[in-house]
């Protein structure tokens, strides 16, 4: 107790009290005097090159960092393309920025000191995973063309989540969105993201996952380069689109995902075909359908017409015509055949007639024969037994008849 009181008193006894400005200026003088034209080795991060022409970055190693600026006037000395993760030796003066109360390195020249350790780690892991085939194209899953439910994994704050949700609700209002907020920076991030992926992958309704994060330094994005997360992305059955950082940022998650979008906004656009496009497609289908239907109808009509105009259907009379012709032919033949047989018969009759003429009784009478009839003239008497004595008979001659009486019947003598 007493000791503490004494200290307190001794502090009060100090007569030299600084104002903040006085102290900072003293510090400034002290530091700037001591650290003029020094060389500091470290890794570039948070590199920024605004249009003012000045270059701002943080120079860092595993345990500490210092702000650095290279003013426009010194840029002519610069022979390198600076990028995050680059290990450099910065040459310049340390200065204290009194208004803000921090020190920074005013860089006058920069030399390369080899690749930064993070960069080397990145390249090493990239090669390892690539050799394992995790980045192979044939492992890439096909994205659903018309997803109805999308899972979004990103930080609940920041521009990325807003951009993704805005773009999806505008372009594809029919898509149901599921947001699983995660940590997207630091040592706990990868485990959180892995859990989120697992959760969405188990949900059968979710057809597509967007893994997004806004821009940041290589350190900020480092969780997306962690091996366990890359393996999870590779194992996930649901297709994943990554949109991490800016267009120039590549993380290993991008290599392992099914599609890499340059930014979170681009990921949202690639995730879903817009409703407008779907409508256009549908209209296109309708036009093609009606065209095709027309063609089918026309073809069908033509086919039916082609059959209908065949003569088999067109003129049924023709069907009978051929039958009629056939009938006529037959009847002509019939007539012809009849005529022939008639002619033959009549010839036959003629020949019989001439034969008959030879035995005509009239000719016989002319030769001197006579025919004896009964009195009634009805019956020719051929035998002496058919008449008796005193019976009247007629005798027919070639030029007349005689009526006479039988006087005596004389029988022929037998030989």
């Amino acid at each position: 107790m007493l000791k503490e009181k004494q200290n307190h008193e001794s502090f009060n006894l100090t007569k030299n009290i600084y104002t903040v400005s006085d102290f900072t200026n003293s510090l400034k003088n002290l530091i700037e005097e001591k650290f003029s034209f020094i060389s500091i080795k470290g890794e570039i991060s948070n590199l920024s090159q605004p249009t003012s022409g000045h270059i701002y970055f943080t120079l860092k190693d595993e345990k500490a960092e210092i702000k650095a600026v290279m003013f426009r006037g010194y840029k002519n000395n610069l022979k390198l393309n600076l990028h995050d993760g680059m290990e450099i030796i910065a040459v310049g003066d340390v200065s204290v920025y009194t208004q803000r109360g921090y020190h920074q390195l005013i860089v006058k020249n920069i030399e390369v000191a080899g690749q930064g350790s993070l960069f080397i780690a990145f390249e090493k892991l990239k090669k390892k995973l690539n050799d394992q085939g995790l980045f192979d194209k044939f492992h890439k899953k096909k994205l659903p063309k018309f997803p109805l439910e999308i899972g979004i994994i990103t930080s609940s704050t920041g521009a990325a989540v807003e951009d993704i949700i805005n773009i999806l609700t505008r372009r594809a209002p029919h898509v149901k969105l599921n947001l699983r907020p995660t940590i997207v920076q630091g040592t706990k991030a990868s485990n959180d993201i892995i859990q989120a992926i697992d959760q969405f992958d188990k949900n059968k309704n979710i057809e597509l996952i967007i893994l997004g994060r806004g821009g940041g330094s290589i350190e900020d994005l480092w969780c997306f380069n962690e091996e366990k997360l890359i393996n999870k992305i590779f194992e996930c059955q649901t297709p994943i689109i990554t949109g991490i950082g800016h267009e120039t940022d590549f993380t290993l998650a991008d290599f392992a995902s099914d599609l890499r979008a340059p930014t979170p906004s681009a990921a949202a656009e690639l995730a879903s075909i817009s409703l407008d496009e779907i409508e256009k497609k549908l209209i296109n289908f309708k036009v093609r359908f009606s065209e095709l239907l027309n063609i089918i109808m026309n073809n069908s009509w033509q086919r039916l017409d082609n059959i209908s105009i065949r003569y088999g259907f067109q003129k049924p009379s023709l069907l009978i015509e051929s039958k009629k012709k056939h009938l006529n032919e037959k009847s002509y033949q019939l007539k012809k055949n009849f005529q022939n047989s008639f002619n033959l018969k009549s010839y036959h009759v003629e020949s019989i007639k001439s034969k008959l003429q030879i035995i005509d009784p009239k000719l016989i009478l002319k030769r001197g024969y006579s025919i004896v009839y009964e009195n009634s003239k009805n019956k020719i008497i051929k035998s002496i037994h058919e008449i008796s004595n005193n019976e009247d008979v007629y005798v027919k001659m070639s030029d007349g008849s005689i009526k006479t009486q039988i006087k005596k019947i004389i029988k022929n003598e037998k030989r």
């Binding site: 109808m297 069908s300 086919r303 039916l304 059959i307 065949r310 003569y311 088999g312 069907l319």
Partner: protein, 67 residues
Amino acid sequence: MKKDKKINFEDSMNRLEDIVNLLEDQSTSLEQSIELFEEGMLLTDSCKEILKNTETRIKKLLKEEKN
């Protein structure tokens, strides 16, 4: 031809082809011809009806689409 059975356009068309070929064949008897002709006319009518109905349906569908 069974009347009860729903007439299939494709089958009807194939039958019509057969019928017209038979009709144009001289050796087909008169009795058979007239029966085939009758069947052919009935089939042609039903085919036309199918096509007309289909056209009406298409028109209706396209109209509904416009509305």
